[in-house]
Amino acid sequence: MNKNDKKAHKFGMVIDLDKCTGCGSCMVSCMSENNVPFKEDESNKKDSITWMRVYKLTNGKSFPETEIVYLPRPCQHCGGKGDHGHSPCVSVCPATATDYGYDTGIVSQIYTRCFGCRYCMGACPYHARYFNWWDPKWPEGMEKYLSPDVSPRMRGVVEKCSFCYHRYQAAKDKAYYDGREDIEENEYQTACTTACPAGAIVFGDLYNPAHRVHEIVKPDPHPASINSTVVGKSRNPNVFRLLERLGTNPKVYYLSEREWVRKAGDNYLAGEWDKIKNHHGSESHG
């Protein structure tokens, strides 16, 4: 199956950072939806599991110019160099515990296969992968509230955001029952998307021009001029991806009208930003 396959999807997300208030609803809904374990004492965040993590960024200026933006960061579901499916983490996993679904563009993680070498965590520049340092301990009775659609994890394995794949499975089941070929845009939405009170997160199929995510992102199927391994760059000048020029080709896009926010998405040499910002997003029009 490849992307020329009519049935193939490329699920992606665009997060409007100008709408995000940093309320954390996405983090909470993600945790409860996906049976994400927590620690008794959550004061040390460095070994806490947060599939969806909200970063706080500032423009570094002093009052009154200070600006703050909150940046929710799920797994970026990288397509890898050239968008061929060799994501940084998938290509390094020694035991094939994670793979790239060419039918959905979603990077999987199989907990019962993972043996905890953590190479994928090292390879991921987004810190989107988390290790289970402890066995999960649920407070009395809470086990009954776990979702049966997401398998709980054991100590010693890596886990990460799955774009709520179980919701896709459920949506497909419904479509099968109805005798439909495929699912509707609204049938498969991630927990964070539906939980966001500001409507900052838009989720859908980047291949499908009718989906909102495609309308906003307008992904460019041609390789980018800055780096030929970059595919799917947005043609919307306000849309960017994190560390885009590394060639990881994330499927999570960010939207902001503020220049400093867009600049924070990647690394630029001194003076480089001013040269490329004007071309940003408008590459393939020429």
Binding site: M121, G122, H127, L246
Partner: protein, 418 residues
């Protein structure tokens, strides 16, 4: 007491003294084993690793012992394939050191994984595109080679050699050792290389990533080359330490000079390649990703340019030059200085290529991740060292490790007294 086991004509310290020494080092081993048990029982939460810093102290130790253990395959390659015959006087010891290094490396890997009982997945469910898979396969196979190379030496123990089958087995294994050594060199090339590849293929990490040849990033070749270059330094260093502890000369100077010379040329060529690689990386690769080399060496409490300078100049160029020049190579003090610097250099390189990578922020709003290892990590990292000391002590005492020992220490015929 154990004189029947001691090689004929060799002088060894009294058994109680030996036993005391083993007991002291053994206590350190027990400490390490206790820590290891804690980690296996309670999990990796016993370490100070975290989600931003998933590789830790012992992974550095793992890479370092494999690098310095490279002396075994390279000496074997020179001895059995390139027929550098003098090296037969040090090959046994090189093999023993290699055996220690590789068994330690495998043990560390067994501690390092979150689900040790699933360790076999790396073989059974192998993803052939992962450098780590290549490491696991070649490492295990090469450890088998080292065991095979070690066996004849064990069978040459005075009592074991009396058993006709063992005697013949040892003899026959010597006969086909070139085949094993060639296989070992093949396997070593790929696992040393793939350890370098582990870093080089991480294209999400600008500090690690390298361009390369086909599927192999340049770090692949640099790691193999550096292991072959610095491995012999470690063999010489341990030989020197053994000589100091036993108070005996065990290997003739011409053998030491030869190995030092080969090592010197290997180091020099390696460090030239390393410098070219570093310059290319710093001036082409990294700026292409929007980063300045300063990014990797500033804004943190530990990693500065000093580490780059120490690794390449002080512990690379200097030992290389000291060992290729005859006058400095044959000066015992300068030679010792060179091999110590060399060993530090390759260990530092492995540190940089596994731990500094993890510490450096990649996203513009990310921060440096430094950490202090827990005592369990320290104990399990010290464990291989203590275990190595014991194994060297035991093999030195009971096996004919150094063929030249008798000749070099022939003061008077030793009569066995109890």
């Amino acid at each position: 007491m154990d004189s029947a086991l001691i090689p004929e004509g060799a002088k060894r310290c009294a058994f109680p003294k030996f036993a005391l020494g083993i007991a002291i080092v053994g206590a350190v081993v027990l400490w390490g084993v206790y820590a290891m048990g804690l980690i296996w029982w309670k999990g990796l939460n016993q370490t100070n690793m975290n989600d931003n810093y998933g590789f830790a102290l012992w992974i550095w130790a793992d890479l370092a012992v494999i690098a310095v253990g490279g002396g075994a395959f390279f000496t074997g390659l020179l001895k059995y394939i390139f027929k550098v015959d003098e090296l037969k006087n040090i090959i046994n010891f090189a093999v023993i050191i290699g055996f220690i290094c590789y068994s330690s490396a495998l043990l560390i890997l067994a501690i390092d994984i979150g689900q040790p009982l699933r360790g076999w997945f790396i073989f059974w469910h192998a993803n052939v595109h992962s450098m780590l898979t290549e490491v696991a396969f070649c490492l295990s196979c090469y450890f088998a080679v080292l065991t095979i190379e070690f066996i004849p030496n064990i069978l040459e123990n005075r009592q074991a050699n009396k058993v006709p089958f063992f005697h013949h087995l040892a003899h026959n294994m010597h006969g086909v050792m070139a085949v094993f050594a060639a296989t070992g060199a093949f396997l070593s090339f790929f696992h040393q290389g793939s350890l370098g590849g582990v870093a080089g293929v991480m294209y999400g990490r600008p500090f690690a990533v390298r361009e390369g040849l086909l599927i192999w990033p340049w770090t692949f070749f640099l790691f193999t080359w550096s292991a072959a270059a610095f491995g012999p330094c470690f063999t010489l260093l341990v030989t020197k330490i053994t000589e100091a502890v036993t108070g005996k000369k065990l290997v003739k100077d011409n053998v030491v000079h030869l190995l030092a010379k080969i090592s010197g040329w290997m180091i020099t060529t390696y460090i030239i390649a390393k410098i070219i690689d570093t310059i290319y990386w710093a001036t082409v690769t990294v700026p292409g990703l929007g980063l300045d080399i300063d990014h990797f060496y500033s804004n943190n409490a530990f990693y500065g340019y000093w580490i780059l300078f120490t690794e390449i100049i002080i512990c690379g160029v200097i030992p290389g030059l000291l060992l290729i020049m005859k006058s400095t190579r044959e000066n015992p003090t300068l030679r010792l200085l060179a091999i110590i610097l060399g060993v530090i250099g390759v260990c530092l390189n492995r540190w940089v290529m596994v731990l500094q990578i993890m510490a450096i922020p990649v996203m513009s709003f990310d921060t440096w991740a430094l950490y202090i290892p827990s005592w369990q990590e320290v104990a399990t990292t010290v464990l291989p060292v203590a275990y190595g000391i014991i194994l060297i002590a035991v093999t030195y005492r009971y096996l004919p490790v150094f063929p030249q020992e008798k000749e070099l220490n022939a003061v008077q015929p030793v009569t066995e007294t109890e």
